[in-house]
């Protein structure tokens, strides 16, 4: 289950699991948001390639609009998925 909480100043907090079952709903929500956008992953426990695809599509949409996407608070296991997929540097994930 994924919770996506929108806050002020272009911040969205994700909590739970961003997997193939939740990807479509997450993308639909993120598509309503303008940039610059910061996604806080502090409470995101799980991400799969379907979830990564949501983040990459959001990144591409905002980049095409001349805006940007940042991802912060990534726990090590989730970060590893970005690293394995070669997407950590693209999204500035540390």
């Amino acid at each position: 289950m994924l919770e996506l909480k929108l806050e002020e100043n272009g911040l969205a907090r994700l909590r739970g699991r961003l997997d193939a079952a939740e990807a479509e709903r997450a993308l639909a929500t993120l598509e309503t948001l303008a940039g610059p956008l910061t996604l806080d992953f502090t409470e995101l426990e799980h991400i799969s390639i379907a979830g990564l695809s949501v983040i990459v599509r959001t990144y591409k949409r905002l980049s095409a609009q001349g805006s940007r996407l940042s991802v912060v608070g990534v726990m090590p296991r989730v970060r590893n998925v970005f690293v394995y997929a070669g997407l950590d540097k693209l999204l500035g994930i540390k």
Binding site: A20, A21, H46, A50, V81, Y84, A85
Partner: protein, 150 residues
């Protein structure tokens, strides 16, 4: 009794059959936790098992050419968990034959697809596929570190 070469290797397994759709992922998440608890394995192992199962399962959901449930089996062996997914397929549908992905390419130059299997290859000690009489079985072996076993 003294342990020796003649002691059988004990393996324990659990399995669950689920419908071939992404709504089944929540059932499989619970299944992994039931298995870890039954085997006294650390919850830290859940992340890797969830990920490997999800990527193999969604590959079958999206690209498989048959209907019917998918059987997921988890088996503990010394130092490893063997993950097997068994599903009807009219002909071999071999995820191990998916071409490698070059993750060093810029995002705009990449072809879509293959990243899930790339992840399984990265995370597993073994990755194999067999097909007999209309049923395909994928095996992925996840290592259990000392900190994850009891």
């Amino acid at each position: 009794m003294r342990r020796g070469l003649h002691m059988p290797i004990v393996t324990r397994l659990m399995e669950r059959s689920v419908p071939r759709n992404t709504e089944s992922l929540a059932v499989l998440v619970d299944f992994v936790r039931d298995f870890l608890e039954a085997e006294h394995l650390s919850k830290d192992l859940a992340f890797d098992l969830d990920l490997v199962i999800e990527e193999l399962f969604t590959n079958l959901v999206r690209h498989g050419r048959a209907e019917g449930d998918i059987l997921v089996r988890l088996e503990r062996t010394p130092g490893e968990v063997h993950v097997r997914l068994r599903a009807a397929e009219p002909s071999p549908f071999d995820p191990t034959s998916v071409p490698p992905v070059n993750v060093d390419l810029p995002i705009e130059d990449r072809r879509p697809g293959g990243l899930g299997i790339h992840l399984v290859r990265k995370m597993c000690r073994q990755f194999r596929y067999e097909w007999h009489d209309g049923v395909g079985t994928t095996l992925a072996v996840v290592g259990v570190s000392d900190s994850c076993s009891s």
